[in-house]
């Protein structure tokens, strides 16, 4: 019996050792980054969209352009670009001899195929971002000409990591397969993807900037609970993770590096003005005055964020100082407005539908209770469906921001903006203001002024109440060198992982 048990134990041990081999194991001497993160459900950037998951996908995909530490568009796959004199056509010039990880050439035809797929694929989450692009032409092997439907100087910012992570056309011929087995030209190549468990990647020697990638291997693992994340890093299970603000103190006490990366994000309370009671502007104003942003900063971001009443954090180029604090926290005024709108205390009862439990929702509930509005929090894991179908009356949303401020504005305030819960509602004057901002070259002295004017026009929207902005917070072990301080993005150029 004992002999049998020993044999079984030996077999299990050998089996486990076998499992650890192959694509799943790190080779001794390799520089390996172990990153605990929410694993992407989709690996096809066209399906994944321009939300926060683009940061993970950028391991496997390179984009047409990139941004630098000041948020300016810089070369990536495209080494340069230029507009025509009228601003309604832009030509991107690719680096020569680029190729995807499947060996296919990354040329103008591949970029054209990607952009056309992003505009036309049935389940594309990007088509709304590409409305300015009327026609894509591959001029030779490395030149891509984009004819625009309007003058738009935001295109180089737009075609960065969020919107233009170029996929191999050969792999994209089977979009369902691509969605789980990415084939791009990024700094790493996926070698193993077990959804919900882990993803392994190895360095891509064909990446255009491979000489500056010093990590041989990346292991993505499903992030553990907040309460155990810090100890996981402390004990060396992981090297890097996103960090909830509530865990910053614990991470710092554990001697880990906490990185506060600037971003463009802003959280909001989304109202549907097509539904009662928000069809009454006085009710909307009452909600605006009832919002105490400091409470969000203190309790959601633990003081690491900033209050904002715009779609951007204060200090950003598109943040409009003239519009700041237009609706200061004033409970008495909010109550008065509700009374003027004909609502007695307790008469308004609303469902606040959110995708996951959040302290922000409880704060909204408590602040609205103070003015006599009863809010019931409903957690709906399928929240995205009614939210993007614009069926909800009241919800919360937190955008990670966009490199193109015009893209951020249209997403929030445009008649079909995905973050505009009140589609097709659009604040008066917004279309003209945003068009002017779009038509203004980024290096024009008028750029900031026109952009802020567009923000001002957008903030007339009765569909959104912005609350706070929070930096992207990472925790990393000391063996991971400093991450480039690129706003809202994670770049691996020059990053090293020590032994």
């Amino acid at each position: 019996m004992r002999k049998q048990l020993l044999s079984l134990l030996a077999a299990v041990t050998l089996g486990l050792a076998g499992c650890a081999g192959g694509t799943g194991s790190a080779t001794p001497g390799e520089s390996t980054l172990r990153w605990a993160v929410a694993l992407p459900a989709h690996w096809d950037p066209v399906v994944s969209g321009s939300g926060a998951q683009f940061r993970i996908l950028s391991l496997a995909y390179a984009s047409l352009t990139d941004i630098d530490e000041n948020g300016k568009a810089v070369p990536s796959l495209a080494e340069k670009w230029e507009y025509n004199a009228t601003g309604d056509q832009v030509t991107f010039h690719l680096r020569p001899n680029l190729k995807f990880s499947d060996g296919e050439a990354l040329n103008a035809a591949a970029v054209k195929a990607y952009l056309e797929r992003a505009k036309t694929q049935k389940n594309s989450a990007l088509f709304g971002d590409l409305t300015s692009i009327k026609e894509v032409t591959a001029a030779g092997d490395t030149d891509i000409v984009l004819k625009l439907s309007q003058v738009d100087y935001q295109i180089p910012l737009l075609l960065g990591e969020r919107v233009a992570q170029i996929t191999s056309p050969k792999a994209a011929s089977d979009p369902a397969k691509l969605d789980q087995s990415p084939v791009g030209a990024g700094p790493f190549v996926v070698t193993e993807n077990v959804p919900g468990s882990h993803v392994y990647l190895k360095k891509n020697p064909d990446y255009w900037d491979a000489a500056n990638i010093h990590i041989d291997r990346v292991e993505l693992s499903a992030a553990p609970d907040n309460a155990t994340l810090v100890s996981s890093l402390q004990t060396g299970v992981y090297d890097l993770a996103y960090l909830d603000p509530s865990q910053v103190k614990a991470a710092q006490a554990a001697g880990l590096d906490v990185v506060f990366q600037p971003g463009f994000n802003a959280a909001n309370i989304s109202l549907n003005v097509n539904k009662k009671p928000f069809d009454n502007p006085k009710v909307v104003d009452a909600f605006r005055y009832a919002t105490n942003r400091k409470e969000f900063v203190d309790k959601v971001t633990f003081g690491y964020g900033k209050a904002t009443d715009q779609a951007f954090p204060p200090g950003y180029v598109a943040y409009d100082p003239q519009s700041a604090n237009a609706y200061p926290y004033d409970v008495a005024k909010a109550k008065q407005l509700l009374a003027e709108a004909g609502y007695a205390a307790g008469q308004i009862k609303l469902d606040l539908v959110i995708p996951a439990p959040s302290s922000a929702a409880e704060i909204v509930q408590s602040q609205l209770a103070a003015i006599g509005v009863t809010v019931t929090i409903k957690v709906d894991p399928n929240w995205a469906t009614p939210f993007f179908a614009k069926d909800l009356t009241l919800s919360l949303y937190g955008t990670t921001g966009r490199e193109s401020p015009v893209q951020t504005l249209t997403a929030h305030f445009g008649p079909n903006g995905p973050l505009n819960l009140s589609t097709p509602y659009e604040p008066a004057g917004f279309e003209d203001a945003v068009s002017l901002a779009r038509r203004t070259p980024l290096d024009s002295p008028d750029y900031a002024r026109n952009l802020q004017a567009a923000t001002r026009a957008g903030l007339a929207s009765e569909a959104l109440i912005f609350t706070y902005s929070q930096p992207n917070i990472f925790v990393k072990s000391k063996k991971v060198s400093a991450l480039p301080a690129v706003p809202g993005q994670i770049h691996w150029t020059g990053v090293t992982v020590g032994g």
């Binding site: 103190k249 409470e295 203190d298 408590s366």
Partner: protein, 289 residues
């Protein structure tokens, strides 16, 4: 029976604890020092004279939230027990008297229910019927009912074969009379033990579900919800989980202690029957006495 339980030290302690919990459920929200839903700027504060158990991540008084959360826990546990009692004990007794078809059907149903993991099933039901403790506890009560069925059936079988019951049958007594006169008195002690034990299970299930955020809507306070929230802020309040944990443990412990006291107080017959009770988690079969 109550006098005999009170005569035991364990019985007095258990009843004392449970009575306190019941009083908290009734009067907790009234005696709570502060509004359990009122937020403040005093986040994650340490225990003080103003906040005896400190405050949570939104500045709410933890003691007030635990007191207010007692009601849901008690009601949930009571619902489990009541459901299990009605669905389990009554058919358990009747299965001995209502013929082979009824016996066969109920035994197969019980076998089926035992096979279902009740916590997982409760989560599935709340997903289907809406997020609420009443529907979750309804299902848990249904899935716990096999315990009552088997205890009641075993006790009834033992009594049914006794000479005085057989004499009553020969004398032409009706089933209802026999059950009322001879069976209930013998069946109740083991059922009381099962009841006390099931109440403890009910408290654990309510705490588990609310810990997972199932069955309640924020900001409703619950014991499990307070515990779950505390675990996210251990770096600020490493001691915070102790309060809800002690409360849950003490209540469940008191239920089990009461079950032991009831068993001891009910004498040999009760002990003989109850020692064969099935285990909840394993779902193992029980031999009938």
């Amino acid at each position: 029976m109550l006098r005999r339980v009170l005569g035991l030290g364990a019985g007095r302690v258990a009843l004392g604890v449970l009575l306190t919990v019941v009083l908290l459920a009734i009067f907790g929200p009234l005696v709570a020092p502060q509004d359990p839903l009122a937020t403040s700027t005093d986040l994650l504060a340490a225990p003080s004279a103003h906040h005896w158990l400190g405050t949570d991540y939104l500045g709410r008084d933890v003691l007030s939230r635990l007191l207010a959360g007692s009601r849901l826990s008690v009601l949930g546990a009571v619902e489990v027990v009541a459901m299990a009692l009605v669905v389990g004990a009554v058919p358990g007794v009747l299965s001995v008297y209502l013929g082979r078809a009824f016996e066969w059907v109920t035994l197969r149903l019980v076998d089926t229910l035992i096979a279902l993991p009740f916590l997982v099933f409760a989560v599935a039901v709340t997903a289907l019927l809406g997020n609420g403790i009443p529907q979750a506890m309804f299902v848990v009560g249904l899935l716990v009912s096999p315990l009552f069925y088997r205890v009641a059936r075993a006790a009834t079988l033992a009594v049914a074969r006794s000479p005085y019951v057989e004499a009553a049958v020969i004398a032409g007594a009706s089933v209802a009379w026999i059950v009322r006169k001879h069976v209930w008195g013998k069946v109740l002690p083991p059922i009381a033990v099962a009841l006390a034990q099931t109440t403890g299970v009910g408290f654990v299930v309510v705490a588990s579900l609310t810990f997972l955020g199932i069955g309640v809507r924020p900001p409703a306070p619950t014991w499990g919800g307070v515990l779950a929230a505390d675990l996210g802020f251990l770096s600020y309040q490493p001691y915070a989980p102790l309060a809800p944990i002690v409360l849950i443990m003490a209540t469940v412990w008191a239920c089990n202690l009461l079950a032991d006291a009831l068993r001891d107080a009910s004498g040999v017959a009760g002990r003989a029957l109850v020692l064969r009770r099935p285990r909840f988690s394993g779902g193992s079969r029980v031999k009938e006495a």
